[in-house]
Amino acid sequence: MNTTGTSENVREQIAALLPRLRRFARNLARNPHDADDMVQIAVERALARLDQWRPDARLDSWMFKIVRNAWIDELRSRGRQGRVFVGAEAGELVGESAIDREADLLSVQSAMAKLPEDQRAAVSLVLIEGLPYKEAAEVLEIPIGTLTSRLARGREALQRMLAPPEGRKT
């Protein structure tokens, strides 16, 4: 094909996105090993479908969506096998070694890990990855209204769990 130049360029851009893709995948899976597996699956799928990516679309959103779909596939296949959802049961946290000393960071991540999956994904995309609502809604394949309501509930739950010591109790 004559798209080699473009495709090489896109590969470089995907390489630059890998840290964010891993971070998003970790927030979904709550387990760093599963997260990296998902990112690897997503990269392979993306390379196989490079022709489906339109240059006027945001590459990060496109990749987040592929990661997210890889995660949904994984959840489905686990469900079919009746396997235990390791992340949820064990409450496994990610990146412990990097942030052990930072109690606040740990508590933020613990609070995130306790959010329901749909809220966690919305919070992760908008508040951490900085996607506009419209892009985040497309990644999650939901209407913007649904996204903002998941965001609101996620924010509320996080505020509750992370209530500052001076105690603003609702």
Partner: protein, 259 residues
């Protein structure tokens, strides 16, 4: 003037136009309760970003970079299969004679491949009662590696993995300058097809790992054996976890269990 939580949050998230934003800023200055709510949203955003900033600094594992660098034509098993199927479609108009010659070429490839293997890789292959089995590094690679995951240092590279009509797991592989199809057999890997990539295939694509492309003869053999679709990454990991024994029945013919 009052604002809904959703509006204030949207402003903090950068979703409002400048005019609406200015209005909220102004209200926040006049009304301390609005200012406090804005600060709450900003504070949460800051804390989240700070908590997850360190993850961006972590080195990316080699396997992810390797996945990105593998050449598109054999980067994914799906693509490999498509290539094989496209080749098959192409041949649909071919004569029976041509089919026979194709079958013969596979046999030749097996024969030629075997002799080259016996010559150069006898430590990676053994012959038991006329059947070839993988051993050593090849057997280990077949058992342990995921498809496409071979790093530059790995001797074996896996193309695609699938459940065969015979009800066992099979995988295409590249080892040194040879490629083939192996199927799990009571803890061992039986080698069904061995072939060398055609010189033209190697020369044609300019990719770094072009010499390890899986030849069409092997892909065709894989397609003949295959039941359903190739395994995806998760499927491969499950198969590896079960030591490549007892594959589940193909999803297309068996309904998922609901218990």
């Amino acid at each position: 003037m009052s604002f809904s939580d959703e509006t204030l949050a949207a402003y903090v998230d950068g979703e409002l136009d400048p005019a609406a934003g200015a209005e909220i800023e102004e209200a926040g200055r006049r009304d301390p309760s609005i200012g406090a709510r804005l600060e709450q949203y900003r504070g949460l955003r800051r804390r989240l970003r700070a908590a997850y900033a360190a993850e961006l600094e972590e080195p990316v594992p080699d396997r992810l970079l390797a996945a990105l660098q593998s050449p598109a034509p054999d980067a994914s098993s799906v693509l490999d299969l498509r290539t094989a199927r496209a080749a098959k479609e192409h041949r649909k108009a071919a004569t029976a004679h041509r089919r026979y010659s194709l079958a013969a070429s596979v046999l030749v490839a097996v024969g030629v491949g075997f002799f080259s293997w016996r010559h150069f890789h006898s430590s990676a292959i053994e012959r038991v009662n006329g059947t070839l089995f993988a051993r050593g590094a090849l057997a280990a690679g077949l058992s342990d590696q995921l498809s496409g995951a071979g790093t530059s240092g790995a001797a074996v590279r896996i193309g695609l993995s699938f459940v065969a009509k015979s009800g066992r797991y099979c995988r295409t592989f590249v080892f040194a300058a040879d490629a083939g199809l192996a199927c799990s057999d009571a803890g061992r890997w039986e080698i069904l097809v061995l072939a060398k990539p055609a010189a033209s295939e190697v020369a044609h694509s300019g990719f770094r790992t072009a010499s390890s492309a899986i030849p069409v003869t092997v892909l065709e053999a894989a397609e003949r054996e295959m039941s359903g679709e190739p395994l995806d990454r998760a499927g491969e990991m499950r198969a590896r976890g079960s030591h490549w024994s007892n594959p589940p029945p193909p999803a297309s013919t068996a309904p998922p269990p609901y218990d």
